[in-house]
Symmetry: none
Subunit: 189 residues, 4 copies
DNA sequence: TATGAATGAGGCTTCATTCAT
DNA sequence: AATGAATGAAGCCTCATTCAT
């Protein structure tokens, strides 16, 4: 692993654990077992490290987003699948999510990154809803706001999971809640 | 306005605008037009200021919560009313909400405060759902998770409103979304 | 008790307990149950309070010193008496002694006060030794240094007693030690 | 000289001159011609500097103490030698002694350090007295208190020398004073 | 006389960043 | 590339003293 990647990985862990402000260049260097000066050989500033982490996260989500769209185009993507792959993605990127959720209100760069994130997710859900409407499987709901509602519910679930782990998981019920609200009641039922 | 209240009000504005870390004792004093030392005549520490703000917020929400319960006991509280009075409350306390949302991931005291807040809101929604079930107006849904889902949706709405005001308001749709999921479809329809 | 005396008494206790620097005008006022401003109605500064305490102590020692001299002139003062009345005096003025011992190295005013104190005590012992020599009860020792040695031993005893109370009292042995060094061995013994 | 040693040496001078409280991190940095931040690269806190000074002093006295004991075991150590080497030691470590004497009443760490110092010195004198008694050169005196008396006299001498240098040295007389009190009068005399 | 809020200088400490090696 | 000592601005907090009431 290159020194740059080592710094990035260590910083990601630390920021998600203790927050951006409490990760100092001194303890980052110590934990990565490098010298403080070395950080500045690879990054312009402490904030620049965060920027790199966020960029990588953006890309990773892009990848997921594209793969979802691809499956959507083939018509093989159920609501279950869509939500499921998002849960999986977020679980696999807990540290990044914690960073984004924990600093968007304080740091401009994270705020922007989270803005983009929300936007992508909303659009994806929106497109999914549009398909569903065409299929006749989903009710006629206003697309944009509903996409937003779903994206929003997602972030909420993650937040609770990350910051109040003692609260028991209610993601299954959230899916049910959404299904009841969106699915066309099956005939004969 | 007493000096103590002046400090409290100024700090509330500043923390909600720039975050707890970026409000320094020096610029708080400057903005409140007092000396730095004066802060410490009225508060034990910078964190103590935040504590007072949070305590007041807790109390304000208690009041709302109790008034909702009172109306629930009289049977005059519709879902619309419940959600509406929460929107009103949150709108009226934008700065407090921003503080809570912006620091719970960094500061223990806010984390606890937000934990209590979520808990109260969830319980309130839960009780409301229980009534609805008894009345036959609401579907048989699992109470606790559903209460959580509603509380969660609320926070999400506030967050978007506060931090991405450029995104258009979707609270009405969120209410509709929830109604579709929870209400017993009226007979004859 | 007048407010001035109340301040003086409270300050004396506090300085001897926690030191001059750690007695702040704020906690002095609190302990004396007066306001901080009141202190400055009676004293010019914090140091001025100490000055008054030291002056009073000086006077008290003057009184002891004079009474010893009076008894010396009558020829009724034994070495035992002299040392004994000093022990009694110091025991009765523990707080003052602690103040003097604890601050002479830091504060000019206490340094001067302690200088005077040492000087008086040394002179007193010196004069006593001179008498003893005339009487033939004491050996021919150099007066000034021996006076100093005795005064010095005294301070040492007090210091140990005040600051290391767990060390067992050795004042009796100190008296014996001095007697052996100073007394003319009695004939026939 | 390393920066750490420079800080240590400068601090030692300053504390012994003006006391621990009046040496501020700002004026220490100025006098050592370094920045304030540099202090904290080498020491955890201001008190930590003092701790290092005291530890070094402890060690230096240990060394003296051991060398005295070694000579005692060989039987080549006279009272003169013992006292003499202590005078020399204290003279060579004037700043350390001043620090200890000037702050033991205010700071816990110095109080403990001085406690240990007194204890070592007392034990050393005690052991010496025990030998003397066996040899028949010293009188039968109670060991522990007498050791304490000698240690105590020592500290007193240093104190006077350091804080009232205008008073003329009486250490020779102090040695004489002690000899008269402790030595067995030679036969035939 | 007494109050107690207000002051502001100054104390200790942290930390992102620089730079000579 | 890497080091790590040094920097200095800035952060939080304390405290003797003043002053309007």
């Amino acid at each position: 692993m290159s020194t740059k990647d080592l710094i990035l990985a260590t910083a990601k862990d630390m920021i998600s654990e203790v927050g951006f402000h409490k990760m100092t260049t001194a303890n980052l260097a110590k934990r990565a077992d490098i010298s403080e000066g070395t950080i500045y050989r690879h990054f312009e500033s402490k904030e620049d490290i965060l920027q790199h982490i966020l960029d990588t996260f953006d890309e990773k989500y892009q990848t997921l987003s594209e793969s979802c769209r691809a499956r959507m185009d083939k018509g093989t993507l159920t609501l279950q699948d869509l939500l499921g792959s998002h849960f999986t993605f977020l679980d696999a990127n807990v540290a990044d999510v914690k960073i984004v959720l924990g600093t968007y209100s304080i740091l401009d760069i994270t705020h922007r990154s989270m803005g983009r994130f929300i936007d992508h997710m909303r659009t994806l859900f929106e497109d999914f809803l549009a398909r569903g409407r065409e299929n006749g499987t989903l009710l006629e709901v206003p697309l944009k706001p509903t996409g937003m509602i779903l994206a929003n519910m997602f972030f909420g679930l993650m937040r609770i999971k990350l910051y109040w782990p003692e609260i028991e998981d209610f993601s299954k019920e959230a899916v049910e809640f959404s299904r009841r609200s969106l699915m066309v009641p099956e005939a004969g039922k």
